[in-house]
Structures are given as C-alpha cells and as structure tokens.
C-alpha cells in the first residue's frame, strides 16, 4: 500500500535548487536548525547521560540478582510475543469484518475507533474499577447471577497481567484494524470475483489472495506494534501499578520503580538490557521505512 512517488525526484540527475543557488542551502540549514537543537538537547544528551549512568558492571550483577527484574523481563516477553500476536490476528480478522459493505457495519466502525481516539488514562481507570472485587460492576453482576463472590481479579499476578494485556489490546486494536483495512481495500476486487467464479471457499480466498498480498504489511505492523508496546507504560502502571507484590511489572514500568527507589543506575541498566532486543528491530524498521 501507499506507493510513494518519492523515487521520481531521485531520478532527476542534478538537484535543481541547491546547485544553482547557495541561498536556499543557507535557508535549508537555518530551517533545519530548530530540530537539530531539540535533537541535541533532548535526545543526544539524555541518551548519553543514560548510558553513562548504566556504565557500572555492578548494576548488571544487581539486576541479575533482583527477582523483580527477571519477572519483568518475562512479563515483557509474554506481553510482546503472546499479547501482540493475538492482537494482530484479531485485527486481521476484524479488518475482514469491517470491509463488508453494510450500513450498520459502517456505524459500528465509527464507534470502534473510540478507544483509540479517547485518552487511555480515564478508560484504564474505568476498567480498574469495573474489576474491583467488592464494588466493581463485574463482581456485582457475578454475585447477582450466581450468588457467589467473584474472584479478586487484580490480586492474582497472572490474571492481572492478562488484563493489562487486554487493556492494551482494547486501546490499540482499532488502530491496527484500520491499517490492515487499508491493506485489504487495496487488493483488486477482480481477484475475488474470479475466485468466486471458480467456486473458491472462504479459506481458499484468504489463503491464496488476501494473505499473499497482505503478508508484508502484516509483518511490518506486528514488528512496529512490538516495538511500541515495549514503551507501553500506562496499561500496566494504571491498572495494576506493578502489583500485586511487584509481580506484573514490565520493562517500561520497572524503570520508574527503580527511579522511585532512587536506584537510577539500575533503572538505566534495565533499559540497556533491552537494547540488544530493540535495536535490531528498530534498524530493520528504519530500513523499511526510509526507502
């Protein structure tokens, strides 16, 4: 999708503006300067400072011996590998649902985008109260229908982490569904008509038409979503606060926990530990997008 025309400029042998005049070049540097300043002051300096904080080998030994760090690393992996793949499969499925031409599906798609359009803080807090063991709507309904007390949802680390993943999915599913929809709409309708004539089943159409044309887009989206989810602080912090007993932390909330405990070097070391995983993904995505 989105085949850009940028290649057409590269085909022109000599850049017409910058060679004839030097004035535009001067302006070019002047206009680029504000971003460069922001970049130096608020990206280069903090990154160097962070790496400098993480220089002690003892920090890594301390991390290695901190069970909360190991738990957070495992949680992050579960979040990424299970959570994101599940989300993307659902998004792929729903993108097929939303491209159906029905007026009620059009209306539903307008509402469906709401989780992405509204800020996450109030909605996450809303979910948090919904699962409150005593006063929350869910347990009250369970009590009404079964006469039994519902579980203490957020007090069980596995359930709490699952719910943090669900909150993340609730928030970002609309965005990825929308992206995959544009991918589906770019497939020529002729292909499906031809397949219908040949009597292809639903699965065959997906397997031999939809999937081959969307595979690249799907994989790009999955990788992008994984990188961004590494920085998803709100879903965990606002729902569970890392609890119970610091068992539901992920890497992005762990940094703040160490900051609170005044262990800045540990906070940075934890992030440095994630870099071998992040940097190859980032490099790969950059290669794809800067073509």
């Amino acid at each position: 999708m989105a085949i850009t025309l940028s290649t057409s400029d590269h085909a022109i042998p000599s850049p017409p503006l910058s060679e004839r005049l030097t004035m535009p070049q001067v302006w070019g540097i002047v206009l680029l300067a504000p971003y460069l300043l922001v970049f130096l002051a608020f990206v280069v300096y903090p990154v160097c400072y962070g790496l400098w904080l993480a220089r002690h080998p003892s920090s890594y030994v301390a991390l290695y011996h901190d069970p909360i760090f190991a738990r957070a690393a495992v949680n992050t992996l579960i979040f990424l590998v299970i959570g994101i793949n599940f989300k993307m499969v659902v998004a792929l499925f729903l993108s097929g649902f939303f491209v159906q031409s029905r007026s009620w599906i059009k209306w539903l798609s307008v509402l469906f985008i709401l989780p992405w359009a509204v800020p996450s803080i109030p909605t996450i807090l809303s979910v948090r109260f919904m699962f409150n063991p005593e006063w929350g709507m869910i347990n009250q309904l369970i009590f009404k229908f079964t006469g039994e007390d519902g579980p203490n949802w957020l007090n069980d680390p596995t359930v709490a982490l699952t719910m943090a993943i669900m909150v993340h999915i609730w928030k970002s599913l609309p965005f990825w569904t929308l992206i995959l929809m544009t991918g589906r709409l770019a497939i020529s309708a002729d292909l499906f008509e031809a397949a219908d004539v040949d009597g292809a089943t639903w699965w065959q159409k997906f397997r031999f038409i939809t999937w081959p044309s969307m595979r690249t887009l799907y994989l790009t989206c999955t990788l992008l979503s994984m990188i961004w989810t590494l920085g998803d602080f709100n879903s965990v912090y606002l729902l569970t606060g890392g609890g119970p007993a610091d068992l539901t932390h992920v890497l992005s909330t762990l940094g703040i926990r160490y900051l609170r405990l005044d262990q800045l070097d540990l906070s940075m070391a934890a992030i440095v530990c994630a870099l071998p995983l992040v940097l190859p993904l980032v490099y790969f995505m950059m290669k794809r997008l800067s073509r």
């Binding site: 109030p122 909605t123 807090l125 809303s126 979910v127 590494l230």
Partner: protein, 286 residues
C-alpha cells in the same frame, strides 16, 4: 442477467454470522467508556451498586467538578488550562519545527538532510518510556523541572520525528516544477515556503498539528515525572493522583475523566478526514 430475488436463506445466514461478530465487538468497545459515563451520571450510592443504569441519574457530579467542590478537584480549572496550554503549544511548536525541517530536507535538499531524517526516524522507534528517566534527569540539569516548558519540550521531542517523516513523505510528492516556476518568477526561499509550500501542504499540516496536540493532551508518564505541584500538573496527572487515597471518590474521578476525554474524541471526529488519510497512510508503508 440477474433476477431480483428475496433474501435467500444463505443471505440470512451471512447476516447472522456478521451480527455474531458485530455484537461482541460493540460490547467490547463500548463497555469501559459506558462504565465511565455511567459513573459520571450516578450518585455515589448508585455508582457502587453495580447496576447497568443508575436508579437516580444526575448531573450533580459535573456540578461538583465545575465548582471544584472536592479536595481532589480544588485545582480542576487550572489543571484543565495547563493541559490546554501545553497541548496547543506542543501542536504549534511541533508544526513549526517539523514543517521547517521537512521543507529543508525535501525541497531545499540541504546537505546531510537524509542523515538527519534517518536520525529522526531512529528516535521515533525508540519507545518513549525508555527515555523517560534520563529525560527527567536532563530537565533537572537544565533547571526546567516543574516548569511547563519541560513537558512542552519533551513532547515536541517525541512528536517531531514522526511529524517530520510524514511531512517529508507528503512534500516529496509535490512536483519540483512548482518550486522552479516560483523561483523563475523571482520568489525568494522564504516566499516559496510561505506562498507555495505551506498552502499546498495544508491537509498534512492539519493532520500533524492535530497529532502532536492530541499526543501532548493524552500524555501521562512524562507529565507526572516532569510536573509535580498541584497547580502545575495537567489533568491526567490529577486523575492519577485520585488513586493516592483509599476511599477515592470514583464517581468524581470518572466524571473528570469523561470531561477530559471529550475534547480529543471531538477533535478526532472533526478532523477524521485528515487524520485517517494523513496518518495511517504514513504510519505503515510497505
């Protein structure tokens, strides 16, 4: 030739299957938002009763919020103002920095422009939460902590890379001949920027301005790290602070959250045309 026909059994089956997907999707999407709305119109007793509709719906909660009649809400208006000022400032500054940079890289072909673009793209992919702790310390070094500028500059830093990238993609599509014609007519670089480039880029600029504005309005992590005084913080931080107490007034928290969620939703739907075209097309290029 096609004959007009009554809905066949097969069509009814398809419709039923679509509904079987549609109804759960509807409930899943709306439940947390409805729950928030329900609390906003419920008196405290009703809110905690777990009903699907309050016995006595009321707008009293909004009254309490607007008149700041609760300990947690005593700075509501100033926090709303802080959120607004910061979001607008981030939108305007990002727009200025990113448009200038994209014009410089894409139209003026400044030497090293491609290199800057790649650096920007690199920062775009580093999760913002990873930079939060060093950014917090850096702002301390610059003496900007507890100053709105710290949050504004941090959000501009986070919003700019994507803004520059989208604007560069869009401006690469404008024909070079336009610039050449304007220069033939004696336009200076600044006139080219102001009179040719900016008007042509308007749809992308609207999308990017909105993107940066909403990003800043919705930000929680940086806001709660960089600002701490009750009269300095933004609304989301104030919402988070409700959790500090054991007996939080959840109906007021949800009312405030509902008010806080309205502007971005309204802006999103108002600019949907630009947002969906400008942002999703740029978000993933394959």
């Amino acid at each position: 030739m096609k004959l007009p026909s009554l809905p066949s059994l097969r069509d009814v089956g398809t419709e039923a299957r679509l509904l079987l997907i549609g109804i759960p999707v509807f409930i899943w999407t709306m439940l947390p938002i409805y729950h928030m709305f329900l609390f906003a119109i419920s008196p405290k007793e009703d809110a905690f009763a777990g009903n699907l509709w309050p016995a006595h719906p009321t707008l009293h909660n909004f009254h309490i919020v607007f008149y700041q009649q609760h300990y947690f809400l005593r700075d509501f208006w100033i926090q709303l103002w802080n959120s607004t000022v910061i979001a607008v400032a981030v939108g305007a500054l990002t727009l200025f920095i990113a448009t200038a940079a994209a014009f410089s890289i894409s139209r003026l072909r400044v030497p090293g422009g491609r290199w800057v673009m790649n650096l920007a793209l690199f920062t775009y992919f580093i999760p913002a939460a990873f930079l939060a702790v060093p950014m917090y310390r850096t702002m301390g070094t610059y003496g900007l902590l507890n100053n709105h500028w710290s949050l504004i500059l941090a959000m501009v830093t986070i919003a700019s890379p994507y803004a520059i990238w989208v604007l560069k993609q869009a401006s690469d599509k404008l024909p070079v001949e336009l610039d050449e014609a304007a220069i033939m007519d004696g336009a200076t670089t600044l006139q080219l920027f102001r009179l040719v480039y900016v008007p042509l880029m308007m749809p992308s600029l609207v999308a990017i301005g909105t993107y940066a504005l909403l990003l800043a309005w919705n930000e929680y992590l940086y806001a709660f790290l960089l600002l701490s005084k009750d009269t300095d913080i933004t609304l989301p931080v104030a919402l988070g602070n409700f959790l500090a107490a054991d007996d939080s007034p959840w109906e007021l928290l949800m009312t405030t959250g509902f008010i806080y969620a309205l502007p971005p939703a309204a802006i999103y739907y108002a600019f949907k045309r630009y947002m969906v075209g400008g942002l999703t097309a740029g978000a993933v290029k394959s």
